[in-house]
C-alpha cells in the first residue's frame, strides 16, 4: 500500500437543493480526493411561510475530502461563489480525518501518524463511499470483522476525473455511503475487511475514511464476544 502523509479534512456543506452539483464541480476542480452528495431537508423559520404550509425545504448535503492545504481556499471560494457569509445561503464546516484509504489506487493518507491526543479515543467513525448496491457487502464485511452494524445513506457523486454528460448535464453516479461506529481497537480490522471486500482492481471501488469520536452512546456488543 502506498502511504502518503498528508493532513486531510472532511469538509461539509449544507446548501439549497440544486446547488450541490456546482459545489461538487468546484471541489473537483480544486483537486478534492473524493466527494459525495446526499439529500436532506432543512427547517424554515418564517411565520408567513409556515402558515402557508412551507415547513421545510430541500437541501443537499455535500461532503468532500480535501488536503488541509486546500481548506482555506475552499472556504473562501464557497464564500465568493455561494455567499455562505450571508445568512440563509447555507453552511459549511470541516472536521479533521485520522486517515483515508482510496481503494482503487491502494493509497492510504495518514493525517496524524503519532496521535497528538491528550485523551485516548475510545471510538472511531468509519465512513465508506462506494458504488450503489455495495452497502450489503460492506456491512457484511464490517460485521465479520467485529462491527455491531452500520447505517446506509443513499447519495451520488464522487470521482475526480469523469466528465460524462448528457445534454451537457454532468452525470453523477449513485453511491452508497455507509457509516460505521466502532471501538478504536477494532477499526483497523474492520477497515481491512471492507477494503478486501471492495474490488480493488476497479476504478470507483470506493473510499474509506476514519475520524475520531469523542463520545458514543448506544453501541452494544454481544457479551459473549
Amino acid at each position: 500500500m502506498n502511504i502518503i502523509k498528508d493532513e486531510l479534512i472532511l469538509f461539509f456543506t449544507i446548501i439549497d437543493f440544486g446547488k450541490g452539483s456546482k459545489v461538487l464541480k468546484l471541489s473537483k476542480e480544486m483537486g478534492a480526493v473524493a466527494s459525495s452528495i446526499f439529500l436532506g431537508r432543512g427547517t424554515v423559520k418564517n411565520e408567513l411561510l409556515n402558515m402557508l404550509g412551507i415547513l421545510d425545504v430541500r437541501k443537499e448535503i455535500f461532503l468532500t475530502i480535501v488536503g488541509q492545504n486546500l481548506e482555506e481556499e475552499l472556504y473562501s471560494n464557497l464564500e465568493k461563489k455561494f455567499h455562505l457569509d450571508k445568512p440563509h445561503h447555507g453552511i459549511a464546516f470541516s472536521i479533521p480525518l485520522n486517515y483515508c484509504i482510496r481503494v482503487f489506487e491502494d493509497e492510504k493518507y495518514i493525517s496524524n501518524p503519532e496521535k497528538k491526543g491528550v485523551k485516548e479515543v475510545e471510538h472511531e467513525a468509519i465512513f465508506v463511499i462506494a458504488e450503489k448496491g455495495q452497502s450489503e457487502d460492506i456491512l457484511d464485511a464490517a460485521v465479520g470483522a467485529g462491527s455491531t452494524g452500520g447505517t446506509v445513506i443513499h447519495g451520488r457523486g464522487c470521482g475526480t476525473r469523469q466528465r460524462e454528460t448528457i445534454f451537457n448535464i454532468e452525470i453523477e453516479p449513485e453511491k452508497d455511503i455507509v457509516l460505521i461506529l466502532s471501538k478504536a481497537e477494532r477499526t483497523e480490522a474492520i477497515v481491512d475487511s471492507i477494503k478486501d471486500r471492495l474490488k480493488i482492481d476497479e476504478p470507483g471501488a470506493g473510499i474509506i475514511f476514519v475520524m475520531d469520536v469523542t463520545r458514543a452512546l448506544g453501541l452494544y456488543q454481544d457479551k459473549s464476544k
Binding site: G20, S21, G31, V33, A34, I37, F38, L39, V44, K45, N46, L48, L49, L52, G53, I54, L55, V57, E60, K86, P87, H88, H89, R102, F104, E105, I129, E131, G133, E136, H154, G155, R156, C158, G159, T160, R161, Q162, E164, I166, F167, I169, I171, E172, P173, E174, K175, E202, P203, G204, A205, G206, I207
Partner: protein
Amino acid sequence: MKGEPYLNILLSKLKDISLSVFPITLLVIILNFTLIPVETGVLIRFILGAILVIIGLGIFLFGAHLGIGPIGNLMGETIAKTNNPLLVGILGFILGFFISVAEPDLQILANEVNIASGGLISNVTILIVVSIGVGIMVAIGLLRIVYEKPLNKLFTIVYFIIFLLGLKAMEEFLAISVDASGATTGAMTTPFILALGYGVSQLKGGKTSEEDSFGLVGLASAGPIFAVMMLNIIKGINNVQGEVEAFVVNTGILGPYIRIFPRFLKESVLTLLPLFILFLIFDKTRFKLNKRSRGIILKGLLYTYIGLTLFLVGVNAGFMEVGRIMGEGLANYHPWLLPIVGFALGMVVVLAEPAVYVLTEQVEEVTAGHIKRKIILMALSIGIAFAVSMSMLRIMIPSLKLWHFLLPGFALGAYLSYRVPPIFVGIAYDSGGVASGPMTATFVLAFAQGAAGAIPTANVMIDGFGVIAMVAMTPIVAIQLLGLIFKRKARKEGNCEHN
C-alpha cells in the same frame, strides 16, 4: 432573522413554474406575429390564461406536495404494512377504482363514447368498466412490488394482450381507448398513484426499492385501454357515429372565464372528493395523525383544489381556443408547416404539464439527484415533439394509420425495456401517463382537431383522439433511449478515479 431571505424560497418556486409555462406562451405569441395572426381578444384571453395557469400550477404543485403526496405515501405504507397479499390487492383495487371513477375527464370521455357508440354503451357502464380496469391494474402493480416481479415482463404481457385486443377492436375505438387512459391519469390521480407506489416500495425496502418506486402510473393507465377495447368487442360495435362537438366562438375577454369558472369549481371538487373521503377513513382507522399533521394535509388538499381550478380554467378558457385556431389556420394556409409547428408545440407543452413536475421531482428524490430533472424533461420534450409532429403527418396523409406508429412504438418500448436499467423502465411508462395530462389533452388535442377539421381527408374523430395516444407512447421510447445512453456512459466512466 426576519423576512426577506425566505422570500427566496417562494421566488425560486415561482421562477421554476413560470419557466415551465413561459416557453409555450412565447411560442404562441411568436406564431401570432408570424404565421397565424389571431384576434386581439383571443390573444389577450390567451395571455390571461397563461397567467392563471402559472398561478394555478404553482398553488397546485405546492398543495400536491403537502396533501396528495403525503396521503399517497401514507396509504402506500399502510397497505404494505398489512403484509397480506390479498389485502394489498383489495385495497389497491379500491383506491384505483374510486379515484378514477370521479375523474371529470373520464366523465367527459364517457359521454363521447356514448355518442360514438350510438347510445349502445351508457355513460355509467363506461365509468364503471374503466374504473374497474384502473382498479385491477393498480392492484396488480402493488402486488408486483410485493412479489418483486420485474416490470419489463409485466409491461410486455400487458401490451401484448392489448395488441391482441387491438386486432379485434375498431380503429376508432383504438384511439378512444388510449384516450381513456390519458383521461384517467389526470392531474390529480397521477401524483397520488406516484406517491402510492413510492410509499409501498419505500416501506418494503430491499435492493429494488428504488426502481419499484416507478411504474404504477404506467400500469394504471393500461387499465382503461383494456376496458374500452373489451367493451367494444363484447358489445360488438362496428361503426362509430356522431361528430365532435361544434366549436363555439367565444366573445368578450372575461366572458369565457366567467362562464366556465363554475364548471371547474365543481369538477375539481369531484376529483378531490374520493381522495378526501379515503383520507378521512384511513386516518380514522389507520394513520391516526396528530392534529397538526392532519391540518397540513387538509390545507394541502385545499391548495390543490384552488390551484387545479385556476389551472383548468386558464387552460380551457385561454389555451384551447388558441390551439384550435392555430391548428385550423396552419392547415388552411401553411399545411406543410403543420409537422414543424407541431414539433415545436410538443416540445414546450409538456413542460407545463403539472404531473411532469411531480414525477421529475420524485425521480430526483429517489435517485438522490443522480437522474436530474432537466435531463428527464429534455427527453420528454423531444418525445412529445415527435408525437405531435407525427400526428400532424398522419392527419395530412390519409394512408398513414394510427397503428403504423403505435405498434412499432410500443414494440420498440417493450424491446428497450430489456436493455435499459430497470428504473428507466418504470419512469418511461409512468411518463407516458404523466405526459398526457390536462395541458396536452386540451391544447394539443384542440390543435390537432383544428387541423383535422380543416383538412378534407382527415377524420376529426380518429385523428383528434390519436394525438393523445401518440403522446402516451413516445415518452416510453424517449425515456428508455435516455436510459440506454445513461447505461453506456456509466459503463465508460471509471467512477472514482484519480487524476
